[in-house]
Symmetry: D2
Subunit: 399 residues, 4 copies
Amino acid sequence: MTVHTGRHFLQIPGPTNVPDRVLRAMDMPTMDHRGPEFAEIGFAVLSAMQRVFRTKQPVIIYPSSGTGAWEAAIVNTLQPGDKVLMCETGQFAVLWRGIADKFKLDVDFIPGDWRHGADLEQIEAKLSADKAHKIKAVCMVHNETSTACVTYPLDVRKILDTVKHPALLMVDTISGLGSLEYEHDAWGIDVSIAGSQKGLMLPPGLGFNAVSEKALAVAKANPGMRSYWDWQDVININKAGTWPYTPATNLLFGLKEAVKMLEEEGLDNVFARHKRHSEATRAAIKVWGLETQCQEQGAHSPALTAVRMPDGHDADAFRKIVLENFDMSLGTGLNKVKGKVFRIGHIGHFNDLMLMGTLSGVEMGLDLAKVPHRAGGVLAAMEVLKGRDAAQAPKAAVA
Amino acid sequence: MTVHTGRHFLQIPGPTNVPDRVLRAMDMPTMDHRGPEFAEIGFAVLSAMQRVFRTKQPVIIYPSSGTGAWEAAIVNTLQPGDKVLMCETGQFAVLWRGIADKFKLDVDFIPGDWRHGADLEQIEAKLSADKAHKIKAVCMVHNETSTACVTYPLDVRKILDTVKHPALLMVDTISGLGSLEYEHDAWGIDVSIAGSQKGLMLPPGLGFNAVSEKALAVAKANPGMRSYWDWQDVININKAGTWPYTPATNLLFGLKEAVKMLEEEGLDNVFARHKRHSEATRAAIKVWGLETQCQEQGAHSPALTAVRMPDGHDADAFRKIVLENFDMSLGTGLNKVKGKVFRIGHIGHFNDLMLMGTLSGVEMGLDLAKVPHRAGGVLAAMEVLKGRDAAQAPKAAVA
Amino acid sequence: MTVHTGRHFLQIPGPTNVPDRVLRAMDMPTMDHRGPEFAEIGFAVLSAMQRVFRTKQPVIIYPSSGTGAWEAAIVNTLQPGDKVLMCETGQFAVLWRGIADKFKLDVDFIPGDWRHGADLEQIEAKLSADKAHKIKAVCMVHNETSTACVTYPLDVRKILDTVKHPALLMVDTISGLGSLEYEHDAWGIDVSIAGSQKGLMLPPGLGFNAVSEKALAVAKANPGMRSYWDWQDVININKAGTWPYTPATNLLFGLKEAVKMLEEEGLDNVFARHKRHSEATRAAIKVWGLETQCQEQGAHSPALTAVRMPDGHDADAFRKIVLENFDMSLGTGLNKVKGKVFRIGHIGHFNDLMLMGTLSGVEMGLDLAKVPHRAGGVLAAMEVLKGRDAAQAPKAAVA
Amino acid sequence: MTVHTGRHFLQIPGPTNVPDRVLRAMDMPTMDHRGPEFAEIGFAVLSAMQRVFRTKQPVIIYPSSGTGAWEAAIVNTLQPGDKVLMCETGQFAVLWRGIADKFKLDVDFIPGDWRHGADLEQIEAKLSADKAHKIKAVCMVHNETSTACVTYPLDVRKILDTVKHPALLMVDTISGLGSLEYEHDAWGIDVSIAGSQKGLMLPPGLGFNAVSEKALAVAKANPGMRSYWDWQDVININKAGTWPYTPATNLLFGLKEAVKMLEEEGLDNVFARHKRHSEATRAAIKVWGLETQCQEQGAHSPALTAVRMPDGHDADAFRKIVLENFDMSLGTGLNKVKGKVFRIGHIGHFNDLMLMGTLSGVEMGLDLAKVPHRAGGVLAAMEVLKGRDAAQAPKAAVA
């Protein structure tokens, strides 16, 4: 077994590379979660998360995975039998739907081919047709991490407004928040769902819900059973800067530092950076002659890129070669694209040279794995990073 | 505002002092939770936790607080309307009961005075009377952190066996595990519930369930709604060394190191140490002329001691004086003992001199807060720590 | 072999307990020591150290032990054959003298009994008698770490001024700086010598010289061989915020944070704290019926206390018992007080409860080692810490 | 001012990237440097360094920069007036010579053009001619960090043996040790000089001397003045696992871990890795059409590569562009190659993808700085990293 040296390239689309500053902030003694010093931190992270979600509404922070935050969105607002509209944009939509099933919701699951964002026309059609307003919520995934396709929440909000449908708009932005533009209030989102281990640059362990006034009212009226995930319990006690149970103190220390870093860079700069890296990645893929999983122009994710393997080649065999030869973790294809897709994360604490190391590892791996491709993808990526049109890139003319 | 120097004394009964080794183990880059290197860690912590619970049965590790692990125990095994037997041993019993209420269980709550362990006679009476076996579970708190009274799970197991009652035995050992003897298998526990931030010496953020074969069978047959907390989902995927969602990677790094430390010291030595510190603390309290909250000889907790304030004195005012003057956090009195009790944690990563610093801070604080007491409690504690009878301690004869 | 748990009590008089904040500041990637970001840190620590030494003159920071800073003081200002006046205040005076011997200085070493500060009368007599001004420097130890006796540099400055002697005043304040009042400029010190691992709360690895204009002029005129220690080389390049060789980057990161902490507390508060802890320690010693090594009222060190063992008892056997039973490191007796003295450090990152843990460990150790003593020293110490006269302490009346 | 995100690329040829494991090992409480636990660490690092130097002779570890270790080599073995032979291989040879001058040695400095290793013919001629054996030492730089040219110590040893000259062989392997093959004993080196911040992957702050029996004997007989650097003092006290002064404890913690990492990888694998990265770097440079500073085939350094800027272009302006645009620090040209050369460090804790990020940053920087070059150097480097001949690399045919 090879012993690796240097830094591992963690280029899965989350958990992402955690900055040293964040790790060090977490590497501090735990404190009394009922004391005055903790309350300061409690208030600080709650207000920091409001700034990140761009909301004046409450944000609930759970010691949980993002999965937990999905469940929280459901159990607070919905009851068994409630009808919800979901879109099969990819694996995370499928998983969320699975939770909805477990809580006995009546899911209208608009099918998708996993290569586009949500089918807006279908959404509009379904909502228009629902004159009785049986649909209680539209549940969408902002940045589908399994396909690297984005669906824009504002597009769905506009549909709801156009057809004057009162359904709640619930958005999973687990791998979107902190990487893609997101406006909880301005876009009229009712429930936003996020996790710590993506654009927030933290280790996994925190789940988030941002909740509109309307969602809170719905929750209040909802007699469904819940305890751990109950928004109101948390919101009430958050007023004192603490939580109804022992919060994940050290992850909160890290969260404070992570948001500080995002704000030092400027959220708009953060978003622009992710877009630039996504563009550079696609420029490389184009030269390699490979296809992105996302086929919708305008829906390419700034946070990650999913790449299709040519027929007859296994994406996981390729990933293994990359891991063993270059100590880089790439994302696996999930569910129906298992073996057909690998994913390159360019999300979170990242920069141009880390991207070039990443793309070089992919290009070398394609060669070692004997995947047919054209060399020189990295040259095209460099053009983009230099601020030029990738088409200007020198072509690699294999001798 | 005073700026404090030196190390804060975190003497609440959890979160406890996290060892540097554990913090440093967590202060490492997050890794791919689906990669081979992670699987090794996954297997390692699952098996480590089996050793700590002393079980061959599965242990489920949640990214959650201990509260979440309570909820998990309930939603996996019980349904609305199910009858359970609980004992009001203190605030954590009350809180757990609250969750049971939220999940619409039919709780038979045996009252208690918060100064003893569970009422074993009542438990036996209730179980004997329940010829129809309507009681589906007996839910008890091993180490009641609000009162510092212990109830021994084996005593309850013996009752169940004696009266041949098939109810599940569910034990909250959140503040017991890793500090007090605990035998999940040998004591016939069906569901054990624990958290990371007490005897396991980690920051908060992980919840645990250890589950007997019988509990698993009950869960399998239980149609109740659940997703995040579903044991079977986790157990199935744990077989590959991973989790059905992104686990709290860095807390797991810390967990591995923490169990290593417990095993280096030897679990039996760990338990003996906690008992010794508890005895030394009570020796001091006796000299001070104060009363412990726990009135049951043999039920004194090895992990913490709750002390009653003399009438006319507020425990929280005292705690504030101690915090401001000596930079030590003591545990507050909870719920019905608010203001009447303060709690001294001597749990987790702790030693004799840390205890003496702690008790000195209490003795000085009593004086500064003008709480009537006899000086010299620290001398009695030192006798115990030296391995002698505290009664040999020099008496302090105030001039 | 016992495995210890909890935090080790590092109560030697240096290296001292390093704050987590300082360790974490050091636990960051090394940077380009010739880049612009480093220069900012370079300037920051140079100016921070001027504030700590209370000087507007240059401070030289060496990657070295304190020993190196002694050597630097000598080789910059003196040549073989030069006469210097030194005082045998204890082991560190002896060691410094040893360096002077190695550099072939002509040392007039005023004898001492290791239980007092420097003999000021002798200093005055020697300087008065030296009409030819053959004495080129008076070298003194501010805080004699082997005896816990202080000599006040201002007293020596006054003598020099009174007798109008032009000798340089060189002060070793290795264990004084950051714990005891110190005024490089106002007290007319020519060369101050310090190290990182005492009151500056850093790990060992940095040595310091603060140098007066006069000392710089002497150095300029001094043809003696030197390179690594040459002040002028360092001062010249420090103007660009960097060093003539690769500086100990990460220790400088820590230094910046350590001075920040000292200034947050306020240097005057830091000094007062050390005095208070010294007083509390002596109150305990008085009750125990032991003797301090320092016999000079007014010369007791605020930073540490040296305690004499009763005849027939070995200090190192006692220290071993304390280390093995209570995981506390006490300072050993050095050279001629080997076995006769142990030393309690109460220097650096320290507080009242850490002191009480420390003194409790000593009191218990005395008992276990069967050293004759009266119990209850800790009670007297607590009186001091509560802001009262230790004489008010309850007496321990052994039954 | 741009706020950078992601990891800085520290590609100066030292200080090098410090592994997280090493930083974390240093991020632990300082300990009693005279206690039994420290002695274990003392012995461990002394023996670890013997393994790294490949010697059975003593290794002296100083709290110092590498500069200090040069001075140590000189003051232990030589006296004013002693003749030494040195070779102007580059800036570090010049600096070492400067120290020799300060200690009034009679330096015969064989000139060089800074583009080759030492002039072996001249060395042989000088030694042959020195029938009276006036030359007391030959001082050479193993890996000249200013030029990236290697001189092989064994070549010089062979000359000494051939001409039967008794001069000591002193080798600066500051940037060689831990990156290039090195055999203190087998190659007959008398004094080896190293530092912590290069191949040893530590922050700066430790200097090393490995010393032959012959060197020790010479030192014993040498009456020259020295104290801090005195080998014998350190060696004597090292026998007890400690040092004559407070050692740089936390850097020693890191050293133990760093050598552990080197040995896990295997020193021979470490050396092979450095060579491979050097070859890949030169493959890129060749495509770019630039020149390496080193003109001697066989003398190219495995640890770093110095690149010449085309006439009319300033290397530091280029480095600034790279730093500002890509957050990468490259090494500056020193002294007579200031502005003409930049240096790429590929030394220490490093891997293929870090190298590709580095070379991509250089290639993009050349473009942004409008330095004439051919694109596609990165493609050639990738061929080497894939284990192929760089000549197979696809050529970049600029449109």
